[in-house]
């Protein structure tokens, strides 16, 4: 693959049952592109966690995935409430999710730590009241 490929997704914040559709689509595209299976797994897990977070905390948002020869870049941007304490949010087990979300199997405070665990680079830009943009890279 000599040129970069870019895929854009809009994440619906209203429907928890549809959360993960974008991650599923990206996983399929990467398979078709012949990307290494370990890298696909890392991208799928990290993006899925991010997508779930966007639905749980931020009423949806937008995801851009760029694939080059060297890396896969995921940019997840929302216009949610922002993260007041990023360091705390990165601790395993810390969660501000509602009880309803926990009953659906998420909100255990593993989302952001998992995203970091499965990616080679991760950067969080957040502004209270304006939103959060998370950039993650998986090297190929």
């Amino acid at each position: 693959m000599s040129d970069e490929l870019t895929f854009n997704y809009t994440i619906d914040g209203d429907d928890f049952t549809r959360a993960g559709e974008a991650s599923s689509a990206v996983k399929n595209k990467l398979k078709m592109l012949g990307v290494d299976s370990d890298a696909i797994r890392k991208v799928a897990i990290a993006m899925y966690e991010g997508e779930i977070n966007m639905v749980i905390h931020a009423d949806g948002g937008a995801i851009t995935v760029t694939v080059s020869d060297e890396e896969i870049t995921m940019i997840l941007a929302d216009r949610g409430p922002g993260i007041p304490d990023v360091e705390k949010a990165m601790q395993e087990g810390f969660s501000t999710a509602r009880e309803e979300v926990r009953s659906l199997g998420f909100g255990a405070g593993m989302g952001l730590p998992n995203m970091k665990r499965y990616t080679d680079e991760m950067k969080i830009d957040t502004v209270i009241g304006e939103g959060t943009t998370i950039t993650m890279k998986v090297h190929l």
Binding site: F16, T17, G20, S23, Y48, R102, G105
Partner: protein, 114 residues
């Protein structure tokens, strides 16, 4: 162990994927929190859970899990069955509780982690 053998020892019902029953599995993970599954599942190919919503199938898809076992008689709805069909993920349902399900599979040679 083949999925068909798991189905027999658990006295489980195939909800989808009987044609995939000859797939071999070795490592199993059990949890109701999908966050934990995503964090710790490793290379496990079977998920045992009492949670029953579409995100269970989505989580399995992201982790390349080939079989989900629903415990305590939980029954997925048509939406979940359609998702599983689309991803070729076998769905089993057993009346056993989580602990018993894990114990039976362990006794039959399956292990956790990877």
């Amino acid at each position: 162990m083949k999925i068909r053998e798991m189905q027999k020892v658990l006295d489980a019902q195939f909800l989808y994927g009987e044609e995939l029953a000859d797939l071999d599995v070795e490592f199993v993970f059990s949890a109701d929190m999908m966050s934990d599954v995503l964090a710790y599942c490793g290379q496990c190919s079977v998920l045992i859970t009492g949670l029953c919503n579409p995100q269970v199938v989505r989580t399995a898809e992201m982790l390349d899990i080939c079989c989900i076992i629903f415990v305590r008689g939980k029954m997925p709805d048509e939406n979940m069955l359609a998702l599983a069909r689309g991803k070729s993920i076998v769905l089993l349902a057993t009346e056993h509780f989580m602990f018993t399900t894990c114990g039976i599979l362990y006794e039959n040679g399956l292990r956790g982690g990877a």
